[in-house]
């Protein structure tokens, strides 16, 4: 059966009403994330890989590297390639076939958030300027969708990058040598970027929506933040947000991200 029917209207009214009194169905505060669990090393063939659970939402993220050619406008820098798949395995709502917009958006947003935060020092991934550089692939798969896969993917991407080890480089073939991995980590900034999405449901703003809350989302704003600096934003869904209210949204993101960072740090240990 359609175990994940979209949230019925009457339930939606209850959720909105409850949110207005500052409460959520699962007893969380409006700006509180669910428990985060990070399991490292889920594929020994990946340079770095993690399983991230945010409540019952779950994603797998793997980092792979190989040797490629740089783009002409960044001849001395490595390449970052991010993909995301919302697998039909993870929800009856996802269909098989070529990636649809929601999956493409997750990939795009995670790409921009890592790229713009300058988390990876791309210039250190150059092997021979203009000829050979490291490609860094971040591939994201949903395993169970219970809301907010986007932020879960963001956590997973950073965690997988943090634990990744660079493969050996075979001078003769000019290719990666996976049989001789180095013990070198990726060149990363010390401070990690965090992605956090603020959702507007009715008159309320909240983070880390459950699937039901996500169904009711009127608008959302995804922030990529590193060390208090915002480096990427996307406003999603077709409802406008008043410019004064947007200022509140920015405050909410800036404030909530501090708690979220602590939760991620704890889960990473």
């Amino acid at each position: 059966m359609d175990k994940v029917m979209t949230t019925p209207g009457t339930t939606g009214e209850r959720i909105r009403e409850y949110l207005e009194s500052g409460k959520r169905f699962d007893e969380r505060d409006l700006l509180e994330f669910r428990d985060i669990v990070i399991e490292k090393g889920i594929s020994n063939k990946a340079e770095g890989s993690v399983r991230v659970k945010v409540g019952e939402s779950e994603v797998l993220v793997g980092v792979k590297m190989d040797v490629g050619t740089p783009y002409p406008d960044s001849a001395d820098k490595g390449n970052l390639i991010v993909t995301a798949e919302l697998l039909p395995l993870s929800s009856p709502r996802y269909e098989a076939g070529p990636p649809k917009f929601p999956a493409i958006e997750v990939g795009r947003l995670i790409d921009r958030y890592i790229r713009e935060s300058k988390f990876i020092q791309m210039e250190k991934l150059c092997i021979t300027e203009g000829e050979k550089v490291w490609n860094v692939y971040v591939d994201i798969y949903s395993i169970n969708d219970d809301g907010n896969l986007l932020d879960a993917a963001g956590i997973g991407a950073v965690a997988a990058l943090k634990i990744a080890k660079i493969p050996g480089y075979n001078e003769e073939t000019g290719k990666a040598d996976y049989k001789h991995m180095t013990d070198k980590s990726l060149p990363l900034e010390k401070e990690m970027p965090v992605t956090i999405t603020v959702h507007k449901v009715g008159k309320s703003f909240l983070v880390d929506p459950s699937r039901e809350e996500e169904d009711l989302c009127d608008a959302r704003v995804t922030f990529g933040i590193k060390g208090g600096v915002i480096s990427s934003i996307q406003k999603g869904e077709s409802n406008a947000i008043d410019f004064e209210i947007m200022k509140d949204v920015i405050d909410i993101a800036a404030k909530s991200v501090v708690e979220l960072e602590k939760k991620i740090e704890k889960a990473l240990k």
Binding site: K45, A46, E56, K64, L89, S90, D139, N144
Partner: protein
């Protein structure tokens, strides 16, 4: 040949008829109607079942019986050389092989016009991924409450030079001495009905019959593990 068999040493020190350590669990995907994860050594497969449910698109409906639709895919980071996302010829073929392997135990006549979807993903690969996928899928189907005559279990039997071994690793698949490697993945019900058989390499008819006997024994072991996982999930 028997003597030669005894002297053969496997790279990981296993006995010739010894399976890799297996871990199996059902109920790993809350959204799915049934789900399972199956790990054999360093090969990990996860499977989810959705249905029986309405078949979309409608023109693919079979008014006489239900349709089983399998999709097998490897995650990009499941092997050393990253796989491009999306389906390939190989994954399309294995998806079909998996359908053929599982259909004989399903009572699809009970679901005319409907579909059962199985999604299999290989998280980490060290050979035998189609077998791990079939094992996970079979458990996920049972876990989903789909009516079945039996479970299906799958294993690859290998011939390395002249010696028969069960459950090949990637390293063994790449074996190059003597007659080289022959890979024979086989799927059966625990009572010995073969639902899937493939072979790549070279082997004589008599030895191939021996392969089936060896496969049958391994499958009985796998069945016990699948059975245990399903029983343990219930409390």
């Amino acid at each position: 040949m028997a003597k030669k068999t005894e002297n053969f040493e496997r790279p990981d020190g296993r006995k010739l008829n010894e399976l890799r350590p297996i871990k199996a669990r059902v109920g790993v995907i809350p959204n799915a109607d049934g789900s399972a994860i199956y790990q054999s050594g360093d090969t990990i497969a996860i499977a989810a079942v959705y249905g029986p449910k309405k078949m979309h698109p409608q023109h693919q409906q079979d008014p006489a019986k239900g349709v089983l639709r399998c999709s097998y895919n490897m995650m990009t980071f499941s092997v050393s050389d990253r796989i491009k996302p999306g389906t390939s010829r190989r994954s399309t073929e294995i998806s079909k092989i998996t359908e053929w392997a599982l259909e004989p135990v399903l009572m699809l006549d009970k679901f005319p016009g409907q579909v059962i979807d199985i999604f299999i993903h290989i998280i980490q690969a060290d050979a035998g991924t189609r077998c791990a996928g079939i094992n996970a899928a079979s458990m996920a189907l049972a876990h989903a409450g789909v009516p079945m005559k039996n479970l299906v279990c799958s294993v690859s039997v290998g011939k390395l030079d002249k010696t028969l071994v069960v459950d090949l690793t990637k390293e063994e698949e790449d074996f190059e001495e003597g007659e080289g490697p022959t890979d024979i993945p086989v799927s059966m019900t625990p009572d010995g009905k073969i639902t899937h058989l493939q072979l790549d390499g070279k082997i004589g008819p008599e030895q191939l019959k021996e392969v089936l006997d060896i496969g049958k024994k391994a499958i009985e072991e796998i069945y016990e593990i699948q059975k245990k996982a399903l029983k343990e999930a219930f409390n």
